[in-house]
C-alpha cells in the first residue's frame, strides 16, 4: 500500500473506533454532580434504574425533563445525608411507587413478567420434543410398511402406461 492509502485507512479506523468509544450523552449536568466521586458513582448507577415519570421510557439519568433533574438532585441529597442505596431508592418509591423502578421487583403481579420467558421456553422445548418424537414414529412406521410385490408393481406400471398413452 502507498503512503496516502495507509493514512486514509488509519483515519477510517480511528473514526470507527471513536464512534464506539463515545458514550451516549446523559442528561446529568456538571452542577448536579457530587464532589465525592464514590457517591456520584452510586448516584449514577441508581439513577439509571429509576424511571422518569414524565418521559416514561427514559431513566432519570437520561431524561432532560425538569422533574427528572429534581429527582436526580433529590437522590444525591439523600446519598449525601447518609442513606444507603436501598434507602435512597425507597425514598423515591414511597412517592411514585414501584412504577419508577425500571427493574420491577418480583411480586405476585410481576411473576408472569419475570417467569414468562422461561414459560415460553418450556412450551417450546415440550413442543419440539413432541415434534421430534412424532417424526421418529412416522419414520419407523414407514420402515415397517412392507414393500410392493412383483404383481403389484406390474399393476401400477400398467396403469401408468395407460395414462401416458392417452
Amino acid at each position: 500500500m502507498t503512503q496516502p492509502q495507509l493514512t486514509r485507512l488509519a483515519l477510517c479506523a480511528a473514526l470507527l473506533v471513536s464512534t464506539v468509544l463515545v458514550s451516549p450523552s446523559r442528561a446529568v449536568l456538571p452542577e448536579e454532580m457530587l464532589k465525592d466521586e464514590r457517591l456520584e458513582g452510586r448516584a449514577r448507577v441508581l439513577s439509571q434504574e429509576l424511571r422518569c415519570v414524565v418521559c416514561q421510557n427514559q431513566s432519570i439519568d437520561d431524561s432532560n425533563a425538569p422533574l427528572a433533574h429534581d429527582l436526580r438532585v433529590l437522590l444525591r441529597e439523600r446519598l449525601l445525608a447518609g442513606d444507603s442505596d436501598r434507602q435512597a431508592v425507597d425514598f423515591i418509591v414511597a412517592r411514585y411507587g414501584n412504577f419508577v423502578l425500571l427493574k420491577p421487583p418480583l411480586q405476585w403481579n410481576t411473576v408472569l413478567l419475570w417467569l414468562g420467558p422461561l414459560l415460553a421456553l418450556l412450551v417450546a422445548i415440550i413442543g419440539f420434543g413432541r415434534y421430534v418424537r412424532g417424526a421418529a414414529a412416522n419414520a419407523s412406521a414407514a420402515a415397517r410398511t412392507p414393500a410392493l410385490n412383483a404383481d403389484e408393481l406390474k399393476a401400477i406400471e400398467a396403469i401408468l402406461d395407460r395414462r401416458s398413452s392417452v
Binding site: 415519570v53 414524565v54 416514561q56 425538569p66 422533574l67 429534581d70 429527582l71 433529590l74 418509591v93 414511597a94 412517592r95 411514585y96 411507587g97 412504577f99
Partner: protein, 178 residues
Amino acid sequence: MLRLSYLAPLLAFMGLTAGLAFSLSNDPRRMPSTLIDKPTPSFNMASLDGKDAGFSNTDLKGGVILLNVFASWCPGCRVEHPMLLKLAETSGIPIYGLNWKDTRSDGSRWLARHGSPYIRVGSDEPGRVGIDFGVTGVPETFVIDRTGRIRFRYPGPLTEEVWRDEFEPLLKALRSES
C-alpha cells in the same frame, strides 16, 4: 378424535386478544398513586400571593377538600381554570392550591389575571412538596378526606365530564363517611 393440541392456536389467540384488550384500557400516563389512603405528607409552604398566611398540611384537616397543583407555565392549567372557578363558586368544596415549580411572581401574576379559586395557595418553587405528593405533572388534583388522608388523584385538566364521572360519586361517598 378431536385432539386438544388443535385448540392450542385458538387458546393462544384468545390469550393474546385478552392481553391486548387489557393494554388498550391501561394508560401508563395514569400511573396509580402510591399515596392513596395515606396521610398527606407534611409540608409548610409560604403564601404565593401574600394574601393568606401560607399553607401547611395542618390546614387540610377537618373537611373534604380538593388540592389542585398548578403552574403559570402549564397550558392544561389554563384549560381547567374556568372549571375550578366554577367549582369554587357552586360546589361548596374548599379548593387549595399548590403552585408547583413556578416563581412566586409568575404564579401570583397568573392568579391575579385569571382569578383565584383557592382558599389558600402555597408556593412550591423548588417542587419538593409536589414530589412528596408524587406529582408527575401539572395540572393534578387530589381529594383529601376529613382525616387528612389522600383519597384520589387525578392527573390532567378537570372537565365537566371528569368532575361528574370521577369526582362527584367519590365526594358523595366521602361526605357520608362519619
